[in-house]
């Protein structure tokens, strides 16, 4: 589970006429603003190092202009880096020629787009089957695979429709089915749900989580929405001005924000709904003390509900049936107070 599927190492992306020459400035510590002022080049990404673990959802979060869409496009080389390497499943994709890169895109990765990017002149079935037909699979096999995944995302019966006849949420389901049809390990989702309205977005997030439970793809998910990031992420990477501000387990970031920027970010969210009992509990392997049992994966919101507002209550926290700790409601209250930045950078978990 913890084996890396994609490694991004020392990645730099600079936009401008003389980009390669600018790398040394960036390496010397120049940031986005200074480079634009001093050299007229846009620093897209600076010294990015991310290990994307197999079977996990890695969420890359940042505001617009933070370089997150540029970053995800490095994984399938829709954008070429200025410096650094991207290793997908053991291959350095910078060393691939055009044909082998196409082969890699066809077999190892798929992508879901913010604006759906479906072919307007082809039916839902043909759209969903696109990765197969691009590979050159036969019509019958393509249609069969496409039909299977359309059913899986809840679009059975819409095969003969055209994309413009579907709502945005339905279109993105087609986009998702198309990505699944390619049957590749890595799934890149570029703000896949940002164009959807909140209710549909939430149901699409559930769909992704449900699919993930069965398929355990390696997903890279881009978003600017912290709630979405916290809901989906196994590993959260926060980008700002082309640099990684902090990455790690979302719960950890929430409780230990590395700098004021992230502090600001996390101050608005409903902590009770995101934080889990196991992140807040005291790790005691105490003997049975008669407390009520609570699962470690429950949210604090659930714990508060169970306590009926009694601030002096404690729970016995269990995970997979064994006692792992004790949760005091006073700790819960403390955890709900937004944390100040610890001043540490790049705390990896």
């Amino acid at each position: 589970m913890t084996e890396s599927f994609v490694s991004i190492r020392n990645l730099y992306k600079i936009f401008g006429n003389n980009a390669p020459a600018m790398v040394s400035y960036a390496k010397a510590g120049m940031h986005k603003k200074d480079m634009l002022q001093a050299h007229g080049h846009v620093l897209g990404l600076r010294d990015i190092n991310v290990e994307i673990k197999k079977g996990e959802i890695t969420v890359i979060m940042g505001l617009s202009g933070s370089g997150k869409s540029t970053l995800i496009r490095h994984l399938n080389r829709l954008v070429d880096p200025t410096a650094g390497e991207v290793i997908v499943n053991g291959t350095d994709i910078m060393k691939l020629d055009r044909v082998r890169l196409q082969q890699l895109r066809r077999t190892q990765m798929s992508m879901v787009f913010q604006k759906f990017a479906l072919l307007p002149h082809e039916t839902v079935l043909r759209n969903a089957g696109m990765p197969c037909s691009v590979r050159g699979d036969g019509r019958a096999k393509t249609d069969e695979t496409a039909r299977k995944w359309l059913r899986r995302v809840g679009l059975a019966g819409s095969e003969a429709l055209y994309p413009h006849q579907l709502s945005g949420g339905m279109q993105q389901r087609v986009g998702l089915a198309r990505a699944l049809t390619s049957n590749s390990e890595l799934m890149l989702m570029d703000e896949a749900y940002s164009a959807l309205d909140p209710l549909i977005r939430s149901s699409m997030q559930d769909l992704l989580q449900e699919l993930q439970k069965d398929l355990q793809k390696t997903v890279v998910f881009i978003t600017h929405d912290l709630d979405e990031a916290l809901k989906l992420a196994d590993h959260l990477v926060i980008l700002k001005d082309g640099e990684i501000v902090q990455q790690g387990e979302p719960q950890y970031i929430l409780l230990n924000p590395a700098d004021p920027y992230i502090e600001d970010f996390v101050s608005d969210i409903n902590r009770a709904r995101v934080l889990r009992v196991r992140s807040v509990m005291e790790k005691t392997i105490a003997e049975d003390d008669g407390y009520e049992v609570l699962d470690g994966d429950e949210t604090l919101e659930r714990a508060i509900l169970r306590s009926h507002g009694a601030a002096d209550k404690s729970f016995a926290v269990h995970s997979d049936g064994t006692r792992v700790g004790t949760l005091k409601m006073t700790d819960v209250l403390k955890a709900l107070v937004p944390t100040a930045a610890t001043g540490r950078n790049h705390s990896n978990v």
Partner: protein, 344 residues
């Protein structure tokens, strides 16, 4: 003394001028000038230094007339080698035009109308348009203009086909290379702005007036421009996201072309074809000057012999044909557009 003589003297070019001087009056203008020179001397002591004025001062400088004559000589000189290449290449065009005209005329009237109405129906799928096409052709046949209309139509069909055959690939190539676009654009501008009669001048020299390819080339050169331009534009306007999706799933550039770019550019390409058809029609009338058969010859007869009625009726027949072609191609365009409707 002619103006600017002093200038040449000052520059020390006097001997060069004298050497090139040609004795005796050369043109009517010169004669007139000589005759009038005595009376109106120095009416304009500082004329614009044009070639003619300078020639008067210095015989070595050619007159404007010599320049146009030179251009003509140049053209006549290169004509033969150009013809060696151009003649066989364009021969199929003559052949296609001749056969198309023959075919359209050899069809019995009912078969021709049936085929045309069927084409209109399948292209447009709009019952109103189909009925209009039927009425238009019946009307033309009723006033004995059907044969002429068929000739015109045959020429337009062949020329439009060739325009699409070459225009779309050229447009595709143009959309892929900014440099090609930069180089081709002025040339396309030239083709579109050149007065239509001017097309005919060099072509008359190159080909015999009895050959259909003479007017075929004129029509194609004039009408191919929108096909090229709108194909280029259409492909450049293709939604970048969809193209990126194709790329992300590993499409080759060939797959991108026929699965993404061409289908998404189709509305624009169709608009270009519609324009091409309309331009062919306008050119085919002018091409009747160089023996293009069809309704245009009647218009020409109306002008030459002042047969007002003949010219007007033929002119209205052309308008009718134009409306038919426009409505049918536009109905086809709308059908394509509908499929591409809002993808937001």
């Amino acid at each position: 003394m002619a103006p600017y003589e002093k200038a040449f003297e000052a520059l020390g070019l006097w001997s060069w001028c004298d050497a090139g001087a040609t004795g005796g009056p050369m043109s009517m203008d010169d004669l007139l000038a000589k005759a009038g020179a005595a009376g109106s001397d120095n009416a304009e002591s500082f004329p614009f230094p044009s070639l003619d004025v300078l020639h008067k001062a210095c015989g070595a400088i050619p007159r404007t007339r010599d320049m146009t004559a030179g251009l003509e000589r140049l053209f006549l000189d290169v004509k033969d080698p150009v013809k060696v290449v151009l003649d066989p290449v364009t021969q199929p065009l003559s052949w296609a035009l001749r056969n198309a005209i023959d075919l359209m005329q050899s069809l019995p009237w009912w078969a021709a109308i049936l085929i045309l109405v069927a084409i209109a129906h399948f292209a447009g799928r709009r019952i109103g348009v189909t009925v209009f096409v039927l009425m238009a052709f019946l009307g033309l046949a009723f006033i004995d203009h059907f044969g002429y209309a068929m000739q015109t139509l045959a020429i337009i069909m062949v020329c439009t086909f060739i325009c699409v055959l070459f225009g779309v690939p050229i447009g595709i190539a143009m959309s892929r290379s900014n440099r090609l676009e930069r180089w081709l654009t002025p040339f396309l501008d030239l083709l579109q702005t050149l007065p239509t009669f001017v097309y005919l001048i060099p072509l008359i020299f190159l080909f015999s007036v009895t050959e259909p390819k003479l007017y075929g080339i004129a029509i194609i050169l004039y009408a191919i421009v929108p096909s090229i331009r709108l194909t280029n534009l259409g492909i450049r306007l293709v939604d970048k996201d969809v193209l990126e999706a194709g790329e992300a799933f590993g499409m080759t550039s060939w797959q991108k072309l026929y699965r993404v770019q061409l289908p998404l550019a189709l509305p624009n390409i169709m608009a270009g074809i519609n324009q091409t058809i309309m331009l062919s029609l306008s050119m085919v009338v002018i091409a009747s000057l160089v023996s293009a058969p069809g309704l245009g010859t009647l218009v020409l007869r109306g002008i030459n012999k002042l047969e007002l009625g003949v010219g007007l009726v033929a002119g209205l027949g052309i308008v009718l044909l134009a409306i038919v072609l426009d409505r049918v191609s536009r109905a086809a365009l709308q059908r394509v557009n509908k499929m591409h409707q809002s993808r937001t």
